[in-house]
């Protein structure tokens, strides 16, 4: 096991390095003029030239990569203003438009994104798995068909349309909730829940759809196995047969998918955040695209993909811990 873990961790570190390099290439060599992408919608030639020097874009590309890379581990300094701006490690860049470190900006936006992801996660796992089991137990009956129909609509509906319909029905027509205005749960828990409820539900519907289908097919596979017949023959109550035996056997792929989906959401749910104007990573990235501010874009892409690579590792290790055959492969 130790050998397996070491090997996987080493591969992950390598992947992170390659990722950093790839992100740098994508965002610095692909565009025709990087400085133009750091200077917002209203861009004067002066700002453009100033940004070129401040961000070191006038240097050779290899030097730029070296500064970028070094900044991640030991920090770096940006010159150009009156005083040099220190960017301590891990330095993801500096936005001269907002005069903020990218790490600070991401830090400010992380709580809303984490709350959104965790809340939606709870809703969709509970909803998706229980409906999936229910559907499998009523296989072929109308209950099964309607759950699968809901699931089809859930994974087909464009998320922003679903969100807009929710806003229209719940907020505008029925007036059940005020228009969401995000606050920290520690500041005002009631307003927090009012603001988060709809975003949680919208995201949960989108994700639960997939988990319903997955749980259903896993359950159907497991229910056909011999050990279920044995369990029933032993006279175990149906509840135990389903919960302890069938569900447990089919749980592994569900856990895997859940880990990766959660990691992806921690990088920001762009559309949901935008719809409900939540101050998360997704809306931060979006605003940096609409009003070009490349350092912020690079920072969010790097953080988000690093989350996914790390989540991949965790899921793989969990998998190996559950199923010893994986380690040998």
């Amino acid at each position: 096991m130790t050998g397996y873990v070491t090997r996987r961790v080493l591969i992950m570190v390598l992947m992170l390095l390659v990722l950093t390099f790839a992100v740098f290439i994508l965002f610095n060599l692909l565009p025709a003029d990087v400085a133009r992408l750091t200077c917002g919608k209203i861009c004067t030639p002066q700002t453009l030239e100033a940004n070129r020097i401040k961000l070191g874009l006038d240097q050779p590309v290899l030097m730029q990569f070296w500064y970028f890379f070094k900044g991640l581990f030991v920090g770096r300094e940006y010159y150009g203003g009156d005083a040099p701006i220190a960017c301590p490690a891990p330095c993801l860049g500096y936005s001269f438009q907002r005069n903020e470190l990218v790490t600070t900006l991401i830090g400010q936006r992380l709580p809303a994104t984490i709350w959104l992801a965790l809340g939606a996660f709870v809703f969709w796992m509970v909803g998706g798995i229980s409906l999936g089991i229910y559907s499998a137990l009523r296989r072929g009956k109308w209950q099964d068909k309607s759950v699968m129909g809901v699931s089809l609509i859930g994974y087909s509906l464009p998320s922003f349309f679903l969100g807009l319909v929710m806003i229209y029905v719940v907020i505008i027509q029925l007036k059940l909730l005020p228009f969401p205005r995000y606050v920290s749960p520690f500041e005002n828990p009631v307003q927090f829940f009012q603001a988060m409820l709809l975003p949680w539900i919208v995201l949960a519907i989108l994700y639960a759809a997939f988990y319903m289908r997955l749980t259903r097919s896993q359950m159907l596979d497991a229910m056909g196995e011999d050990f279920i017949r044995t369990a029933r023959a032993k006279g175990l109550p149906e509840r135990t047969v389903i919960g302890r035996h069938a569900l447990r056997a089919g749980l592994t792929p569900i856990v895997t998918a859940a880990g990766l989906d959660l990691a992806g959401l921690l990088g920001g749910a762009i559309i949901t955040e935008a719809l409900f104007s939540l101050p998360g990573i997704g809306t931060l990235a979006l605003s940096a695209v609409v009003n070009p501010d490349q350092p912020i874009i690079v920072g969010t892409v790097l953080i988000t993909s690093a989350f996914i690579i790390i989540a991949n590792l965790i899921v793989d290790l969990l998998y190996a811990a559950i199923d010893p055959r994986v380690r040998l492969a």
Binding site: P31, A32, P158, F160, Y168, I271, Q294, T304
Partner: protein
């Protein structure tokens, strides 16, 4: 004593067994799937009206770009008439403030959306199949390198990377001579969807090739001295049509949704060019007063994506009866 046995002069012909190819079997199964067949009909209809959009518009006498000041009130630009000004002249009503015909805008939006997603799906499928076959058949170092490369691409969340690269990539496309604005944006969407979409298919194809290359028919082809190219394209590729077709029919609606989402966020197709996303983004300001602004375009978009998914499910069930849904 001899017993007369009536010997029939002509032998009774054995009932003819019609040989049916796999394709015919799959089609027969698909035809029985009522949801998939209905969806296919709806899709065919949507395709036709998208292709003939200019003809249909000129026949009704509407146009997606013309401002109609007569269809809106002078103060504030509220459409004249109920439900956003729905009338015989304007079947889906007109836009608030400009009076542009929504029916025409949706038809043209459908055209662009289908064009982008069909081209992007085609490129995705070609790339995914090619690299999947190479990776699975070559094995060893090639497979390992391609595998890590795919891991890298898959580490970027799809929507975020499409959004994040829009500035940088569109700028490069414009610099390469594509006209600025929506032309560059359309090229960008097609390229980025394909570049970040192929590894999903590639993984599936690779797995299939890994098992196919151990089969007897490949072995016999090798023994007969067939070239690597012949084995790849004549022996292995024909066996991959099922996963390719299934994947393509499920990717297309994803791309339609992604294009709509990006245009909704203001980074895809930009006005005055019509798109579902932009029309829906615009509806947010008025849907309290005119709900049809939200429900007509949203409904059509939803129908488009749902029917594609139903056809995709149908294709999968028809080609792989073991994985049937119920």
């Amino acid at each position: 004593m001899a017993i007369d046995v009536a010997v029939p002069s002509t032998p009774i012909p054995a009932p003819e067994v019609a040989g049916r190819s796999l394709r015919q079997l799959a089609w027969a199964r698909f035809r029985k799937d009522r949801a998939a067949m209905t969806s296919l009909g709806v899709l065919a209809f949507l395709f036709l009206i998208a292709i003939f959009a200019p003809l249909i518009c000129s026949w009704i006498g509407v146009d997606p770009y013309t401002f109609n000041s007569s269809a809106i009130s002078d103060d504030g630009g509220k459409p004249v008439g109920a439900w956003g000004g729905i009338s015989w002249q304007h079947p889906f009503g007109v836009e608030w403030g400009t009076g542009r015909d929504i029916f025409a805008r949706l038809l043209y939006g459908l055209r662009i959306s289908l064009m982008i997603s069909i081209i992007a799906t085609t490129i995705t499928v070609v790339l995914g199949t090619f690299f999947g076959i190479v990776s699975g058949y070559a094995g060893g170092k090639t497979d390992a390198i391609l595998g890590r490369f795919m891991d890298l691409i898959l580490a970027f969340p799809f929507l975020l990377i499409v959004l994040a690269l829009s500035g940088a990539f569109t700028q490069r496309i414009t610099a390469l001579g594509v006209p600025e604005g929506n032309a560059s944006r359309i090229v960008y969407l097609i390229l980025i969807f394909s570049l970040f979409g192929w590894p999903y298919l590639s993984r599936i194809i690779r797995g299939q090739v890994l098992s196919l290359r151990e089969r007897e028919f490949v072995e016999s082809a090798t023994a007969m001295g067939a070239s690597g190219r012949r084995i790849l394209f004549k022996e292995i590729l024909p066996n991959l049509w099922a996963p390719i077709l299934v994947y393509a029919s499920l990717t297309l609606p994803t791309y339609i949704g992604a294009e709509a989402a990006l245009s909704f966020l203001g980074v895809g197709i930009l006005p005055p060019e019509p798109s579902f996303g932009a029309i829906l983004a615009d509806s947010v300001n008025y849907f309290k007063l005119v709900p049809s602004y939200l429900f007509i375009p949203g409904g059509i978009l939803a129908i488009l994506v749902v029917t594609f998914n139903l056809v995709g499910d149908g294709v999968r069930d028809a080609l792989d009866p073991r994985a049937a849904r119920s």
